[in-house]
Symmetry: C2
Subunit: 397 residues, 2 copies
Amino acid sequence: MTDFAATRAQFHLPDGVIYLDGNSLGPLPIAAERRVAKMLREEWGEQLIRGWNTAGWMVQPRRIGDRIGRLIGAEQGAVTMGDTLSIKVYQALASALELNPSRKVVLSDSGNFPSDLYIAQGLLASLGRGLTLKVVEPEEVEAAIDGSVAVLMLTEVDYRTGRLHDMRALTGRAHAAGALTVWDLAHSAGALPVDVAGAGADFAVGCTYKYLNGGPGAPAFIYVAPRHHETARPALSGWLGHEAPFAFDLDYRAGRGIERMRVGTPPVMALTALDAALDVWDIASIEDVRAKSIALCDLFIREVEERCPDLALASPRDGQQRGSQVSFRHGQGYAIMQALIARGVIGDFRAPDAIRFGFTPLYIGEEEVLGAARILAEIVGGRLWDRPEYHRKALVT
Amino acid sequence: MTDFAATRAQFHLPDGVIYLDGNSLGPLPIAAERRVAKMLREEWGEQLIRGWNTAGWMVQPRRIGDRIGRLIGAEQGAVTMGDTLSIKVYQALASALELNPSRKVVLSDSGNFPSDLYIAQGLLASLGRGLTLKVVEPEEVEAAIDGSVAVLMLTEVDYRTGRLHDMRALTGRAHAAGALTVWDLAHSAGALPVDVAGAGADFAVGCTYKYLNGGPGAPAFIYVAPRHHETARPALSGWLGHEAPFAFDLDYRAGRGIERMRVGTPPVMALTALDAALDVWDIASIEDVRAKSIALCDLFIREVEERCPDLALASPRDGQQRGSQVSFRHGQGYAIMQALIARGVIGDFRAPDAIRFGFTPLYIGEEEVLGAARILAEIVGGRLWDRPEYHRKALVT
């Protein structure tokens, strides 16, 4: 059984804060400070350019990719790191489309993170050829998978509500219809058990600043099923995906396996922080995290519903159908969240009306859940959100 | 006049090393250690998600973009940061091609960095439509600019030899022929005065880990001429390039001006280190850096040619025609460089036969130039490169 006191001790959490936004940005792993300082002084500072070989910088993307791969059920050597999630969505979708050249439709849903849809729109506008993006409601996805679909592109956990898609069932359905799949695991990796290999996913991508605690703007990951390793053409064909980057040939030749999904020079400092952040998984099991996450979310729903009849649950009530977050709707959601933050309870707001709370058992326990529910009830019950400063829109919500 | 003792004091340089590879990876700016540590503990650690507003993370890309913009002659608000150079090449080239839809040819040269050519090959393979990449020798570029060329895509300074293209003349020639330009400033920014606005460049891109000392894998920059701000369509259309990222609309609408060239969540830690690295430009003038760089390169050429008749100068002899590096050719170049590194003189090797030395006056002076020439002469004269360990190929050269 995972010792959650021990996992919590690995994070820096500020005094007076109940942090329920690890689904947006995980907290600082204390080890990251030391490891980044060491990377700066002992690696970059002392080894300089030699660090690419002597400090292992060049192999970081694949080594760390495998660490994440173990959390998402990937085969060894099937995950690499780099760029941002949006870029990795582009790479995965472009590759998947080329592997299914006779079809014209990318199928997604309105619960996908908007950037994934934007990236698809941009890619399809570039490609032309009559390719179209079809966006249906989440519950209509299964019925919409037909013989026109080239690629089914979904985010497993809805960023607004936490609603969970059945990756295995939908992937099976897509394959039966002759479509490939691109899964975005932004709200899955580190939050719940994922089995990309078992589900038969073709491509999967994700970010590492949420439940993997890599820090603001931490690098993304991409998974490519081994059966596609030698046939997927990277549309973003940068030198580090080349078979021999330091031969400096004038013609691109895709590298072996997942290496071809690398693009440019890897972000060493950010990967170093992420590597430290992943150490917590040496003492935590994702199954234990999942079980406790469901319990904490259930407790929060119960406590909030008892005290706040004005809030409407936006998340599935059944923990098995939900990621590691709970959202409620309220017309004054934005101001309520500002009032909560002013009281030290940090969640976030997602337009148009959702207040969202992430529960990450690595560093959150029952005490925080009860505290947050109590303060939320005080604010909603007492209309304490009704102050001008809580209605001022910030740049980032 | 720039005080080069003061600029040098801003960098950590290891004992016993003459570092002539700042054209590949600049050394650690001492301030970066403190600033990154502060960002980790006081910003990420204490402010958590709030840091996007309170620590200014969301506006970092444009703020730092403007700092770099001042070094390359860009208009205010015309440069932003993020991703890697290869990704920014893709963005710039894709946008430029769309702005010139009736033409079919991307013109480049064999002195372009291979990743730029690879990216172009990947993009054109995706787009189809009969688009082709034409690669000529550097000296043939001007003559090859004709009415078929959609985009002229060049790196100003040749990574192998330091040969400098005339950005203003070639851009004028391209425009006269109805072509747009994409300039890669990887070996220019921070090395020599650049005037993208004055030259009329349409797009420019660059990395920040060379002469801008941002650290291994530091983020790239992209410049878009203001006349294209509202018409350039970002092929990589991620959420942070959206007009209103936090509205979470389902449809992409390009943001205003350079903001649309942003893609995913910005790499805050890396941008923080880069921001610290740019402080040296508060006390250094790029004109002084350029003048001293030419003097140092000239001195190195003179010293090496006097002592090493076996080495053939690969760089232009005229400093005005050269970036901030000097290369020599030798059949045993790889082993010679390994022997140099073993003696503490760090340059690098570029296949097939070039040994390459970067001279960055911010932290390199005459003493290092003379020391490096002396050691190089000992190695070449005494054939001290003739040891098995110097012939073993490293992953990164």
